[in-house]
C-alpha cells in the first residue's frame, strides 16, 4: 500500500516536471494551434478539406509549403478581404472567389498558425500582434 502511494507521488512529480519543461512560448503556440484547428473546421474545412487538399481544379489546396513561406501577412489580408481573380498554387492556376471571412484578429492569428503548421507546413506561431500589423498594410 505504502509503495503504491509513493509510486503515485513519483509519477505525479514526473508529469509535473515534464509539464514545467514546456516553455511559455511553446504553450502559447499549442494554444494558438488547437484554437486554430477549431476555427479551421468551422470556416475553412468545407472548401479546403480536412487535409488541406482543396478540391481538384476548383479550390486550391493549402499544401504549397513554398508559397506559404513569408506569406502570413498576405494570408491575414486574404482572410479579411477575401480573394477574387486568378491565383497560382502548387503550379496550378485557380480562379474564382474566396469570400471575406468575418474573423477577429486573434481568430485569424490562430487559424494562420494552424494552417502554416499543418498539411506539411512548419512555420511556428503567428501572433495576434503580427496579424494587427499585417492588417494595417493590406493593399486594397
Amino acid at each position: 500500500m505504502k509503495g503504491k502511494i509513493i509510486g503515485g507521488i513519483c509519477l505525479l512529480v514526473f508529469f509535473a516536471m515534464i509539464y514545467s519543461c514546456q516553455s511559455d512560448s511553446s504553450i502559447e503556440y499549442s494554444r494558438y494551434y488547437s484554437a486554430g484547428a477549431v476555427v479551421y473546421q468551422s470556416h475553412c474545412q468545407n472548401c479546403h478539406g480536412d487535409k488541406g487538399q482543396g478540391l481538384n481544379g476548383l479550390i486550391p489546396p493549402l499544401t504549397d509549403t513554398v508559397l506559404f513561406k513569408g506569406y502570413n501577412n498576405k494570408l491575414a489580408c486574404q482572410l479579411k478581404n477575401g480573394i477574387s481573380g486568378k491565383i497560382s498554387v502548387g503550379g496550378r492556376n485557380f480562379e474564382g472567389t474566396m469570400p471575406a471571412l468575418d474573423l477577429s484578429p486573434i481568430e485569424m492569428a490562430q487559424v494562420i498558425t494552424y494552417i502554416t503548421n499543418s498539411f506539411g507546413n512548419k512555420q511556428g506561431i503567428f501572433t495576434d500582434d503580427q496579424v494587427q500589423n499585417a492588417l494595417k498594410n493590406c493593399s486594397k
Binding site: 474545412q45 468545407n46 472548401c47 478539406g49 478540391l55 481538384n56 481544379g57 476548383l58 479550390i59 472567389t97 469570400p99
Partner: protein
C-alpha cells in the same frame, strides 16, 4: 448441457435464416393502391411515387432528361457553382461516388443547378472540367428554375429556396437521392457526411443486384 445445445441450435437456425435473406432497399415517397381489371379479374396493386418526366440541358449543351435515364440507376443532388457553403464538401463526397461507378454503364449522377441564371452551359462545363469530371456518367443540368425547384421539393423531397440573406443567396439541403430504374426513390443520404456517402455506394451495389420487376 442439453439446454445449451438447444439454445445453440436455435441461434444457429436463426443465423442460417438471416444469411439467406438478401438485402432489399426500401421504397420511399407516397404510395397509393390502384385497382384494375386484368383478364376479367380485379387486381389491386401498389403504385409508388415516381419522378415525373423532365428535360433539361447538360454541361455539353445536349438536351437530356428522364428519357435518357430510363435504364439507369442514378443519384440526384442540387447545387450551384458559386455556392460557398456545403457544395464543395458535397461535391468532394460525390466524387467518391463518381470514381466508384464512372465505368458502370447504368449508374449515373445528376446534379441540378438551383441557380440556372448564373450556371449556364458554359459555366457548368468549366465547373465539371475543374472538378475532373468527363464523359456522360455525371451530368450537370440547367433547366427552368420553377421546374427544378418543383422537382426538388415534390419529387426528390429535397428542400431548396432562394434566400437573399443566406450566404450565396440560396438555401438548399445537401441530400443525395438514389433513384432506381423505375424512377422510384430508394434512398436519401446526407451528402456532407462521408459515412452516409459510403453507405450510398454500398446501396447502389445492392440496388444493382436487385432483380428488375416488370
Amino acid at each position: 448441457m442439453r439446454k445449451l445445445i438447444g439454445v445453440l441450435a436455435l441461434v444457429m437456425l436463426f443465423a442460417a435464416c438471416k444469411s439467406n435473406t438478401t438485402k432489399v432497399l426500401p421504397i420511399y415517397g407516397n404510395r397509393s393502391a390502384e385497382t384494375k381489371t386484368v383478364n376479367g379479374q380485379q387486381i389491386t396493386d401498389t403504385v409508388y411515387q415516381t419522378v415525373p418526366a423532365f428535360k433539361f440541358v447538360n454541361q455539353y449543351g445536349d438536351s437530356v432528361g428522364s428519357k435518357n435515364l430510363k435504364n439507369d440507376i442514378y443519384v440526384a443532388d442540387f447545387f450551384f457553382t458559386s455556392c460557398p457553403s456545403i457544395c464543395p464538401v458535397m461535391q468532394r463526397n460525390m466524387l467518391n461516388v463518381y470514381n466508384a461507378f464512372k465505368d458502370t454503364a447504368d449508374v449515373k449522377i445528376i446534379s441540378f443547378t438551383i441557380d440556372p441564371k448564373h450556371d449556364t452551359t458554359a459555366v457548368l462545363k468549366k465547373y465539371a472540367d475543374k472538378l475532373g469530371v468527363s464523359g456522360n456518367s455525371w451530368w450537370f443540368l440547367n433547366g427552368d428554375k420553377d421546374k427544378v425547384y418543383d422537382l426538388a421539393t415534390k419529387s426528390y423531397l429535397v428542400g431548396v429556396t432562394q434566400d437573399s440573406t443566406a450566404a450565396g443567396g440560396y438555401v438548399h439541403q445537401g441530400y443525395f437521392v438514389l433513384i432506381d430504374k423505375q424512377q422510384r426513390i430508394r434512398g436519401s443520404y446526407d451528402g456532407t457526411d462521408p459515412k452516409q456517402v459510403d453507405q450510398l455506394i454500398a446501396d447502389i451495389k445492392t440496388l444493382k443486384a436487385e432483380p428488375v420487376s416488370k
